[in-house]
């Protein structure tokens, strides 16, 4: 009897010691579903960003909820949304009903995210968007707050601001062209893949470029999956374009940049080229994508104290630079911050705390707008303009914009063949 009492005591003491030393072990995990196209770079970025955040948080003991530290458990949910929107809805249902996740981060294609958003809202699950830029996703919050209040966008910035950045970066390149090559009136070729999200950008370009003192050389709309754009490039050169303003989110961004570099088209590429945000762009274009400029979220510059450590850690662990979908890292940090303040996982109680978010994350100072979107502007998230310079994707914007230049930003460089072409002329 004595012996069994003694053993029971030892067992209890050991349990207590283990529990006290490693509080996370025994606690029920907080399940976060990372939903995205996992077979593609965008999904990989989402998973990697979330993994990094979860590892950091768990290493530090977990998320403090009501005095108990709880670990984060990630659930990988492949939405396959590039190929099938029904697959995306099924994946969302699966995440909620089968995996029973507490929160969701991710989503990429706006069309798919709209449907996924509805399922998350039906189930009152907080869904932090980390991929889709369509304004309607947040407009829904403004129009029907009670239903859509569980939706928050973390990355990228709203496509309206994305366009603003796009034109600011174009303006920077135009000024460099005008100054260095003394071209009196620049002609711009607007090249946008044929996709719904690119249509407003083409419209705005047609209205804004003349107001910016530039002439439109023509508008080309290749297929998002075009593999050979030589004909378009020949037509652009024939039209006498000085700058090529790109709007690409699909694979066409690679052959276009590659063939423009191979043929040394005397017009620099600037705009949105999602493929150029990725490390693989350099290899995919065989280095011919040199000097391509794109708007992005992350670059190895000091946006705030968290950017470079995040960038370096990500690069070290995953052997590539983070693309914007790795914003799941920021999403989970924001979520942790709100949970700890609210001391609950209850979605309804958490929403007001998330709305009050004002913190530094890797992308900059993060504050949600009234309709749960990303606040854009100097002093908040600005996004960056990056340029491929000899194998490195360097930050070139903001550069003296609104008195803002992030530490580590370099001046924009005109392609050497463009310089040669105009100097010979």
């Amino acid at each position: 009897m004595k012996k069994s009492c003694f053993l029971r005591g030892v067992f209890l003491a050991l349990t207590f010691c283990v529990g006290a030393c490693f509080p996370v072990w025994g606690a029920e995990p907080i399940k976060i579903g990372v939903i995205g196209p996992m077979q593609f770079t965008q999904g990989e970025g989402q998973w990697n960003g979330a993994t990094l955040a979860a590892e950091e948080i768990n290493k530090a003991g977990g998320v403090l909820v009501n005095g108990a530290k709880r670990p984060i458990e990630l659930v990988k949910v492949d939405s396959n949304e590039f190929l099938s929107i029904p697959d995306a809805t099924n994946a969302m249902e699966l995440a909620i009903s089968r995996y029973k996740v507490d929160f969701l981060v991710g989503g990429f294609r706006s069309e798919a995210v709209m449907v996924m958003q509805d399922i998350a809202m039906d189930n009152k699950k907080i869904f932090m968007g980390c991929g889709a830029a369509h304004p309607q996703l947040c407009e829904r919050v403004a129009k029907n707050y009670d239903r859509y209040k569980y939706w928050f966008r973390v990355t990228p910035i709203n496509s309206k601001f994305l366009v603003k950045v796009d034109f600011l970066v174009l303006d920077m390149v135009a000024k460099a062209m005008a100054k260095q090559l003394e071209i009196p009136k620049l002609k711009v070729a607007v090249v946008a893949e044929k996709a719904a999200w690119a249509d407003p950008i083409v419209g705005i370009a047609q209205q804004s470029l003349p107001k910016m003192g530039m002439e439109i050389a023509g508008v080309w709309r290749p297929s998002p999956t075009a593999t050979d754009t030589t004909a378009e490039l020949s037509a652009i050169q024939r039209a006498g374009a000085n700058i090529i303003f790109t709007t690409f989110s699909s694979s066409v961004g690679i052959p276009f940049a590659k063939q423009a570099g191979e043929l040394k088209i005397p017009a620099p590429l600037v705009g949105i080229n999602v493929e150029a945000q990725k490390d693989g762009f350099w290899n995919a274009t065989g280095g011919k994508g040199n000097y391509t400029v794109t708007v992005g979220t992350y670059a190895r510059v000091k946006i705030d104290d968290k950017t470079i450590p995040f960038f370096d850690k990500y690069e070290k662990q995953f052997k590539e630079a983070p693309n914007y979908t790795a914003g799941t890292y920021d999403a989970i940090s924001i979520l942790k911050h709100a949970i700890e303040k609210a001391a609950t996982l209850d979605a309804d109680k958490l929403v007001p705390f998330l709305e009050k978010t004002d913190m530094e994350v890797a992308a900059g100072r993060f504050v949600f707008t009234k309709d749960h979107d990303v606040t854009w502007g100097p002093g908040f998230i600005t996004s960056v303009g990056t340029q491929w310079q000899d194998g490195k994707n360097m930050c070139v914007w903001p550069y003296n914009w609104e008195d803002l230049t992030y530490e580590g930003t370099v001046p924009y460089k005109l392609p050497d063949w463009v310089m040669e072409y105009y100097k010979k002329k």
């Binding site: 196209p37 077979q39 593609f40 770079t41 990989e44 590039f82 893949e193 044929k194 023509g218 508008v219 080309w220 709309r221 290749p222 297929s223 998002p224 999956t225 075009a226 593999t227 050979d228 030589t230 004909a231 378009e232 020949s234 037509a235 050169q237 024939r238 694979s251 690679i254 052959p255 590659k258 063939q259 191979e262 043929l263 040394k264 088209i265 493929e275 693989g280 290899n283 995919a284 274009t285 065989g286």
Partner: protein
């Protein structure tokens, strides 16, 4: 503008011709509608990527090895999945669709959905009539003409070509005459897959490699062989350039509608078929054979 359309039309047409000739050959000889043809073209591109990026081979060596590997893969696939059901044309069609999907999923699992690239075999460009042509495009142009001449020479001037033609004309009679039909079909298949592999090796550096890269060329290739007349090599060759030129004209005449170049080219195919349902060279090739 005319010179740009001519040159770009020739380039587009040559890329399609490389694929369509091989497809037509195996259909003409063995009545195999090999939907996996462009999946093998994709396999060749991935093998080059594997050789160049992972094994550090030169791009030329990687291209040569990839062609051999793809031919081997094509022959193995034929022996395992097509030969047992060769007599049932619709079953072959479905089996090759399944095979293409399997190849796609294997590469998706192995390399993910990332867009990859390989370096060109010929870098730089040259000017012709004021139009810049990438040297790699010239290689495509040359390869397409070589492929046509080579196929013609092989079919018309060699013993193996005679066997292939006999098999294409009447398999049973050819068998009775002592021709090893299986060997002839394997030879035709080897040449057909080899041409898909050459296309992959030459076109991959111009484009992006991804597990779905076989779908767009498949649509165009099927349109070309139907337009040219199923099984007609000459028809496929000419149709490739018809669709290639149509695409180039669309880009120059309708820049805002550049994305419509594929659908417009396919509409032309439908129009031609309404007038001549057997395709441009369907009947004449039957007679030639």
């Amino acid at each position: 503008m005319i010179q740009e359309i001519v040159i770009n039309g020739l380039i587009n047409g040559s890329i399609y011709a490389l694929l369509a000739i091989g497809f037509s050959l195996i259909f003409g000889v063995a009545r195999v509608v090999n939907i996996a043809h462009t999946a093998l073209y994709m396999a060749a591109s991935y093998f080059i990527y594997l050789g160049f990026d992972y094994l550090g081979m030169s791009s030329l060596l990687a291209a040569l090895i990839s062609i051999l590997l793809t031919v081997a893969l094509g022959l193995v696939c034929y022996q395992l999945f097509i030969k047992p059901i060769r007599e049932h044309e619709s079953a072959v069609l479905i089996a090759t669709i399944a095979l293409a999907m399997v190849i796609q999923e294997i590469f998706l699992l192995a390399f993910g959905g990332n867009y990859l690239g390989v370096p060109p075999l010929a870098t730089g460009y040259f000017m012709l009539a004021g139009v810049k042509i990438a040297n790699q495009h010239l290689l495509v142009l040359g390869a397409a003409f070589l492929a046509l001449i080579g196929t013609w020479f092989l079919l018309m001037k060699t013993r193996i070509g005679l066997g292939i033609r006999c098999t294409a004309q009447d398999r049973e009679v050819a068998n009775l005459m002592g021709i090893n039909v299986n060997r002839e079909i394997m030879a035709a298949l080897g040449i057909s897959v080899g041409m898909a592999a050459v296309a992959g090796a030459i076109v991959a550096p111009l484009s992006v490699i991804d597990p779905h890269m076989w779908l767009h060329p498949l649509t165009m290739m099927l349109a070309i062989v139907v337009l040219g007349g199923l099984g007609s090599i000459k028809g496929s060759f000419i149709s490739s350039y018809i669709l290639g030129f149509t695409e180039a004209v669309v880009v120059f005449a309708l820049p805002m509608g550049a994305f419509l170049k594929g659908p417009i080219a396919l509409s032309i195919m439908i129009l031609v078929l309404l007038i001549r349902p057997e395709g441009l060279f369907g009947v004449s090739f039957e007679e030639e054979r």
